[in-house]
Amino acid sequence: MKKVLALTMALALVAASFAGCGKSASTATTAAAETTAAAGETAAEGVGTVKIGMSGPLTGRASAYGLAVRAGMEVAVEEINAKGGLQIEFKAEDDEADGEKAVSAYNALKDWGMQVMAGQVTTGSALAVAPESVADNMFNLTPSASAEALALTGDNIFQMCFTDPNQGASAAELVSTKYAGAKVGVIYDSSDDYSTGLYNGFKTKAAELGVEVVATTSFTADSKADLSTQVTQCQNAGADLVFLPIYYTEASQILTYASRISYAPKFFGCDGMDGILTVEGFDTSLAEGLVLMTPFDANASDEATQSFVTKFKAKMDGLVPNQFAADGYDVIYAIYDALTAANITGDESASEICDALKAQFATMSVDGLTGSGMHWDENGMISKAPAAVVVENGVYVPMA
């Protein structure tokens, strides 16, 4: 799987460099590549600038995710600007993962002259801004806001990540095929839309496929200081596979406590789990055998990933990028591909650019760090192959 990905990447790279467009990481394939190349040349003559804005939690409780996305986007912007042609002016605003602040951030970006929105990081913020961006006809591609309701709000809103119910369902399918007969325990965050969405998607599909769920328990953002009770509940119910549709921060607590009481079921996570190996001070041996569904692997040997990881680390003080960062990077490149393919010069209004990008996103296909041949359906939801990895000796190994 990884080889195929690396190979297509390499091929695409060669094709792109022949076409005289030195894109290093995310390349529009086949038909799109030719138009991109042509656009690159015309853009190089009269170099224009497009203003792209994003908002995410840069301070407060959820800031780890917002800062990762911002840095991932900045890496992409710097790469694009370094190679000439269409330039991008990029600005990130803090929204503290709060709907009200997100609308303020959106307004501040509009006053700055934003022409394209590279999304909100968190679902709540994205849902609050969605009607505003629909009213303004502002193109909005979110890296990580995954609620199904989001893309349905308007035809200008697109997602780079899987929607929650879809990912939950994929997880249930994987469990039923790879771990047939497993007794499943679930621990989710009932105060978080992402986690609840994954859980509901998982539950519905699991019931359909006859997966045996023996324990379901949850926590809230306020009560997560102690997760030992939830682990004990799964243990008492005899669960030999624990599904954790939660973020890596809480998951690391669960893994630590489980190892303390010598409870060793198979742990199974979703994309929010990506990042657990890079938590500073985390004993990665605790995550041995952990299965997670992530579209991105920082240890992948392909050139695109490695170049991204190097640049990201330089920017973030040695921090290894997770899928949040990679999604951010892909968002900028997807927008850039569509901008160049549509011959946008930057003089157009936000609404004009939005219409052009909508047309591009309906047909184009993108290869990036988080998947190849990614394309979007008429609702703006992404279609890419779900990938699962297993942690072996402290690194991800693609699941056979």
Binding site: K110, L127, A128, A147, G197, K203, S218
Partner: protein, 356 residues
């Protein structure tokens, strides 16, 4: 008699100031001279002003510390959303629908305030504070797990994570942790302004009534007030319910300004923020609450240019302002300075008189 006059002047000047600010902003807005950021501030600022004034009634006038004001705001917000979406077809007029939603939100918040007030108002000081905090957290927890939807068979609600299965054509209004989405934005600056006027009217009348003076007496010395026959609990209850009612209305106004609202918005931090508005503006000082709510609401937004240092500087500003306005030493310095200024002023007056 003179004191009463001064009060009246003060009240009138509050109305005039608020109206002037509204007119200026409204004119600028219609002429298209306001940028998106300022326009975005207008409605939430109105909501926060009402919240601050209503909390001031409780904290400043009655002297009761409440840490759960956001809970009442939340009740009003979600009630308002439900009522306006249910009336979407019956009442096509947006303004009317919003007003109905605000009234419903206020009434429900007031009723809850009354029910909670019966047992809670027996407590005082920090114990009352912690119970109001607990109430706010309970509200947040309940709203965060509430699923409410409507279809042709009527209104359905559940607190289970599985959510609801509605009949064909049904519509979810509140979906647990995701909150309410797809809200029709009905709030306008004008309605926000009217709500502020209404709040001022209610609160100032209450303060300056016989009962209001009694409430202040209770704050300053409860035992003395009781001994001259003032029914303390009844007055506290009245203030508590009015405060909750106004917070509920503000919550509905606030909610109908956004496309989506989550329960986590109505948390401890929001309660604390409103409290900060009140304390900074001066306890019992209504105009002070209005000004400080406006300034403190805009301040973190105005500091966006500072990027990652924004919130730390906000904290520093907050501490410094508290020190400058409350510290006895600073008060001495300030009074010396103002005396001097006044002295200069008087001198000028005298000189002017002399020249005449």
């Amino acid at each position: 008699m003179k004191k009463l006059n001064r009060n009246q002047v003060k009240n009138a000047s509050t109305y005039i100031l608020v109206t002037a600010a509204f007119l200026i902003l409204q004119v600028l807005s219609t002429q298209g001279k306001l940028n998106s950021t300022t326009k975005g501030f207008l409605v939430p600022a109105c909501a926060y002003i009402v919240l601050a004034v209503s909390l001031n009634l409780l904290v400043g006038i009655c002297g009761e510390l409440s840490l759960g004001h956001a809970g009442f705001m939340g009740i009003g917000a979600f009630t308002g959303i439900v009522v306006t979406s249910l009336l979407a077809e019956a009442v096509p007029n947006g303004v009317l629908r919003l007003v109905m939603g605000m009234i419903a939100g206020g009434v429900l918040a007031g009723v809850v305030g009354f029910l909670i007030g019966i047992p809670v108002l027996r407590l005082r000081g920090d114990y009352l504070a912690i119970v109001t905090l607990a109430f706010g957290e309970i509200m947040k927890n309940v709203f965060g797990n509430l699923y409410l939807g409507v279809d042709e068979t009527g209104l359905h609600a559940t607190l289970k994570t599985e959510g609801l299965t509605l009949a064909e054509g049904g519509k979810m209004i509140i979906s647990g942790p995701r909150g309410a989405t797809g809200i029709t934005k009905l709030s306008t600056f004008a309605i926000g302004f009217v709500l502020i006027l209404f709040t001022l009217f209610v609160v100032q009348n209450l303060i300056n009534s016989r009962e209001g003076r009694a409430i202040k007496a209770v704050r300053d010395n409860r035992i003395a007030a009781e001994s001259v026959g003032i029914n303390v609990t009844a007055f506290r209850m009245k203030a508590f319910v009015v405060s909750a009612f106004l917070a509920g209305m503000a919550g509905a106004l606030y909610a109908m300004n956004y496309g989506s609202i989550t329960a986590s918005k109505f948390n401890f931090n929001t309660s604390i923020n409103i409290l900060v508005f009140v304390v900074l503006g001066g306890m019992g000082n209504i105009l002070g609450s209005i000004i400080s709510a406006t300034v403190l609401y805009i301040l973190p937004e105005a500091m966006r240019g500072l990027q990652d240092y924004r919130m730390i500087l906000y904290a520093v500003v907050l501490i410094l302002v508290m020190l400058f306005t409350w510290s006895p030493k600073m008060k001495d310095i300030i009074s010396v300075v103002t005396d001097k200024v006044r002295g200069v002023f008087r001198k000028n007056e005298k000189e002017a008189a002399f020249h005449e």
